[in-house]
C-alpha cells in the first residue's frame, strides 16, 4: 500500500527533515537556558551563549542553592505537590466509584452528577473565590493551595468512565462474597484502574508543581511562596521587594546565569517525571476521550 513513486520519496525526505526541525524547535529553548546556566557570567551577559556553555562553571547552581528562600520554596512546593495529589486521589476515587453506578442501582446519581458538572459551566470568578479564602482564614496556609482544586470535575468524568468499563460481574462477585462498597473499591476497582490513576496522579502532580498564581494571591509573606510563585516574582516580574535578603544575594538572583539555573531547576522535576508520564498519558487521555 506504500506509494513508491519519486514524488512520494522526495516528500518523505522533506517531511522527515521538517519534522526533525520542528521537534528541535520544541526543546532548543530548554537547551539554551541550560547552556546559559552553566556558562560564565561575563559570557552570558555578552550574549555569547547559544546551545553550549561558554566558560563552563557550576557557580550559578551553587549560588541558587545557597539562597535560603529558594530552597525553602522548593520544600513548600514538594509538600504541596504530595499533599495535594494525595487529597485529590482519595476524593477522586471515592467520588467516581459511586458515580460510575447505574442510576437504577444508585438513586441520586444524576443529581450528584449535575451538582458537579454545573461547576464546570459557571463559577463565581476570581474576586469571590479570593474573598472566600480570606474569610475562611486559609490564606498564608498550604490549604489555600491544595483544597480549592481537590475536586476536578473533568478528571472525575474520565475516572468514572474508566470505572464503567470494568465488568459489573466483578463488583457483583465481590458484594456477594460479603465485601462492602469500600472494600470493593479498594480491593477490586483500585488495582484494576492503576493506569488511569497513574495518569491522573501525574497530571495533578505536574499541575501542583507548576501552579503559581494561587501562591501569589493567597500568601502575603514571601517565605510561604511555593517555588513556581517565587520564580514568577523574581524572574518574570523582576520584583525583588517581597523578598528579604542581603544586597549580595540580591545581586546574585538578578544575575542572568543564576536566573537560568533557577528556571532550569524549576523545570527539572517535570523533566524527570516526564518519561514516566509520557508512557501513560497517551493511553490515559485517549481512554478518557473514547466512550463505549
Amino acid at each position: 500500500m506504500i506509494d513508491k513513486s519519486l514524488g512520494y520519496r522526495t516528500f518523505t525526505v522533506v517531511n522527515i527533515a521538517f519534522l526533525a526541525l520542528l521537534s528541535l524547535a520544541c526543546i532548543l529553548p530548554m537547551i539554551h537556558i541550560l547552556a546559559v546556566a552553566f556558562s560564565g557570567k561575563a559570557a552570558a551577559n555578552a550574549n555569547l551563549v547559544d546551545f553550549w556553555p561558554v566558560d563552563f562553571t557550576i557557580d550559578a547552581f551553587r549560588k541558587t542553592f545557597e539562597n535560603r528562600n529558594f530552597v525553602n520554596a522548593m520544600a513548600i512546593s514538594t509538600i504541596r505537590t504530595l499533599l495535594g495529589t494525595f487529597i485529590f486521589l482519595v476524593l477522586l476515587l471515592v467520588t467516581s466509584y459511586p458515580l460510575s453506578k447505574e442510576q437504577r442501582s444508585f438513586k441520586g446519581r444524576s443529581l450528584y452528577i449535575w451538582y458537579f458538572v454545573f461547576t464546570m459551566l459557571f463559577s463565581g470568578g476570581l474576586v469571590p473565590s479570593y474573598m472566600l479564602m480570606i474569610k475562611l482564614g486559609l490564606n498564608n496556609s498550604i490549604w489555600a493551595l491544595v483544597l480549592p482544586g481537590a475536586v476536578d470535575v473533568f478528571s472525575l468524568i474520565l475516572m468514572l468512565n474508566f470505572f464503567r468499563a470494568i465488568p459489573k460481574e466483578l463488583e457483583e462477585a465481590s458484594l456477594i462474597d460479603g465485601a462492602n462498597h469500600f472494600t470493593t473499591l479498594w480491593r477490586v476497582y483500585f488495582p484494576l484502574s492503576l493506569p488511569a490513576i497513574a495518569t491522573l496522579a501525574l497530571f495533578t502532580m505536574v499541575g501542583h508543581w507548576n501552579s503559581w498564581f494561587d501562591g501569589m494571591i493567597y500568601n502575603t509573606k514571601a517565605e510561604n511562596y511555593p517555588l513556581a510563585t517565587l520564580l514568577q516574582t523574581i524572574i518574570v516580574q523582576q520584583d525583588f521587594s517581597k523578598i528579604t535578603m542581603d544586597p549580595r544575594a540580591l545581586e546574585d538572583i538578578s544575575n542572568r546565569t543564576v536566573k537560568a539555573a533557577q528556571i532550569f531547576i524549576g523545570a527539572l522535576p517535570i523533566l524527570l517525571v516526564y518519561p514516566f508520564l509520557q508512557k501513560y498519558f497517551v493511553k490515559g487521555v485517549i481512554m478518557g476521550a473514547v466512550k463505549e
Binding site: P29, M30, T95, G124, G125, S129, L132, L231, A267, K291
Partner: protein
C-alpha cells in the same frame, strides 16, 4: 443448588447504598465550599464592595458596575482583545496540529515517530512561568537569541516582540501554538490510528496515490473530531490564557494585550476595586456558560459528541 443472585432493588435502597452516599460526602462538601459559595459571592458585583464592611454592610449600587464595564473604553477594549487573541489561538491551534498529524502519519519509521512525539509533547508540561522566563530571555531586544538569529540569517533589525502591541499579539499566538500543538495532536493521531486500513488498500487498487488517499480517506476521517475540538474551543473563547499573558505582558502592551482575566486581577486585587472586578468576572462567567452549553450542544448535534 440454589444460584446466588444480586439484584439491585429499585428505589433509594438506603440499606445497601448508604455507603455510596457516604463516599460522596467529602467531595460534595469541598465543591460546596470552594465552588458554590463563591457563586453566592457574585452579589458583590452589585455593590460598592468594601472588605471591612463585608457583603452585609457594603452599599448597593445596582448595575453601576456593569454600566462602567460597558461605558469605559479600556474595558471594552479588553473584551475585544480577549476575543481576538482567543480566536487566533483557536484557529492556529486547530490548523497546526491537524497538519502536523497528517505529516507525522506519513512517517513509516516507528522509532523516529516516537522520538518526534516525545519532543513535541514536552512544552505542554512546562508552566508559563518557566517558559515565560525562557522567552523573555530569548526574545529580548538587546541580544536575545531570536533577534540575533534573525539578524544573522536575514539581516532583520531587532524586533520588540514583547513591547510592541501588534508584535505582542503575534508572539502570544505563536508561543501558544508552539507550547500546545504537540499535545493537541494526540487526539488527531488517535483518530488516524482508528481508520480502517482496508480503505487504503481499496484506494490503492483503484489507482489512488498517497496524496489522493490522504485527500479522500484521511482528511474526511478527521473532520468529525476537528469539528468537536473546534466547537468545544469556541466555548472557551473568553479564556485567552491568563497564565501566558500575565507572564509575558507589561504596561507597554496593555492596550493590545490586556485580556479579561488579567484586567480583573489588576482592577480588583491590585487596585482594590473589588465590586467592579466581581462584575467583570460575572459578565465573563455568564457569557462563558452560555458559550459552553451552546458548544456542547453543537458538538452533540454535529458530531455526536457527549461529555458523559
Amino acid at each position: 443448588m440454589k444460584k446466588a443472585t444480586y439484584e439491585p432493588k429499585i428505589g433509594w435502597n438506603w440499606r445497601r447504598n448508604w455507603q455510596l452516599h457516604a463516599m460522596m460526602v467529602p467531595a460534595v462538601i469541598a465543591v460546596f465550599i470552594f465552588a458554590y459559595l463563591p457563586m453566592a459571592g457574585v452579589i458583590m458585583a452589585f455593590q460598592d464592595f468594601k472588605p471591612w464592611l463585608g457583603i452585609g454592610g457594603s452599599p448597593w449600587v445596582g448595575f453601576n458596575n456593569f454600566h462602567k464595564l460597558f461605558g469605559q473604553q479600556d474595558s471594552v477594549q479588553v473584551i475585544w482583545n480577549t476575543v481576538v487573541i482567543s480566536a487566533w489561538k483557536i484557529v492556529a491551534g486547530l490548523v497546526v496540529p491537524f497538519l502536523f498529524a497528517l505529516l507525522l502519519n506519513e512517517v513509516r519509521k516507528a522509532a523516529f515517530k516516537r522520538t518526534v512525539q516525545t519532543l513535541v509533547y514536552l512544552p505542554h508540561f512546562l508552566s508559563w512561568v518557566i517558559l515565560g522566563g525562557i522567552l523573555i530571555d530569548m526574545l529580548s531586544v538587546d541580544g536575545g537569541m531570536i533577534n540575533r538569529l534573525l539578524y544573522n540569517l536575514f539581516g532583520i533589525d531587532p524586533i520588540f516582540f514583547l513591547g510592541d502591541g501588534n508584535w505582542f499579539r503575534f508572539t502570544i499566538v505563536v508561543s501558544h501554538v508552539w507550547k500546545e500543538f504537540g499535545f493537541s495532536t494526540i487526539v488527531f493521531l488517535a483518530t488516524l490510528a482508528g481508520i480502517n486500513p482496508t480503505l487504503y488498500e481499496a484506494a490503492l487498487v483503484d489507482g489512488a496515490n498517497r496524496w489522493k488517499q490522504t485527500l479522500h480517506i484521511t482528511v474526511p476521517a478527521m473532520i468529525p473530531i476537528t469539528i468537536v475540538v473546534g466547537t468545544l474551543a469556541l466555548g472557551g473563547i473568553l479564556n485567552a490564557g491568563f497564565d501566558q499573558i500575565f507572564n509575558l505582558y507589561n504596561s507597554m502592551v496593555y492596550e493590545k494585550g490586556d485580556i479579561i482575566d488579567t484586567y480583573v486581577y489588576r482592577t480588583a486585587l491590585v487596585q482594590g476595586n473589588l465590586g467592579f472586578g466581581t462584575a467583570v468576572g460575572l459578565f465573563k462567567s455568564i457569557i462563558g456558560m452560555f458559550l459552553i452549553v451552546t458548544a456542547y450542544r453543537m458538538a452533540y448535534v454535529w458530531a455526536n459528541y457527549r461529555i458523559f
